[in-house]
């Protein structure tokens, strides 16, 4: 049913339909949008996209983890992780869709 996966190609198609630029250019623009967001996060900057959500980079300190297979303790090095905070509007839209409203 809803096992579909949307990919870059679908985003390109959406941009192509909406703007009427060439497919090649639409694809390049989708790539550029992702690149700009990624570059920003790489610098440790937060990216806020209103009515969608924000991407935040968090720093994690060193901690002790465990290899789940062997049970051995291993130190986990300090690292940066990225989290997505969905906006209220996005959460609303996801819940607004009626699930069994077909036929």
């Amino acid at each position: 049913m809803s096992a579909k996966t949307v990919t870059r190609a679908d985003l390109c198609e959406a941009v192509y339909q909406k703007l009427g630029l060439s497919r090649t250019e639409s694809a390049a623009l989708v790539e550029l949008v992702l690149k700009e967001i990624t570059d920003c996060l790489e610098r440790g900057e937060t990216v806020k996209l209103s009515s969608f959500g924000s991407f935040v980079v968090r720093k994690k300190g060193q901690r002790i983890g465990r290899n789940p297979k062997t049970g051995k303790e291993v130190p986990i090095s300090p690292r940066r992780v990225m989290v997505f905070k969905p906006s209220a509007i996005l959460k609303q839209r996801i819940n607004a869709e009626p699930v069994g409203a077909e036929d």
């Binding site: 990919t7 989708v30 700009e36 990624t38 790489e42 990216v47 839209r93």
Partner: protein
């Protein structure tokens, strides 16, 4: 960076496009992702990450201020999993060892 700054940066690299067009492009992308999630679909962007929807069952919650029990309906929440390349890039520039010969994923 906020959305308008993202639009400006992209517009600066594409002088043949109106800023309004770039705004439409960014919104088209975000709307497409939102619509997919609303349908219950997954959105996978290699190198960036994947958006999916997770179901949260109904539960009895509490109003933290009054301590009263409240029934919370079943709901769906968006979930994002960071992509492999993104994870690597987040940790490449930071904290000392950026000299390690970590594999550069070329797709």
């Amino acid at each position: 960076m906020i959305k308008s700054e993202l639009v400006q940066r992209i517009a600066a690299q594409n002088p043949h496009l109106y800023q309004r067009d770039v705004e439409n492009i960014v919104n088209a992308i975000l709307n497409e992702i939102t619509a997919a999630l609303a349908r219950g679909d997954r959105v996978e962007l290699r190198g960036f990450g994947a958006f999916s929807v997770k179901e949260r069952p109904a539960r009895t919650g509490r109003n933290p201020r009054t301590g009263q029990h409240v029934e919370v309906d079943q709901k769906c929440v968006p979930f994002f999993k960071t992509g492999k390349e993104m994870r690597e890039r987040l940790n490449r520039s930071d904290i000392d060892d950026d000299s390690s010969p970590s594999k550069d994923i070329a797709s």
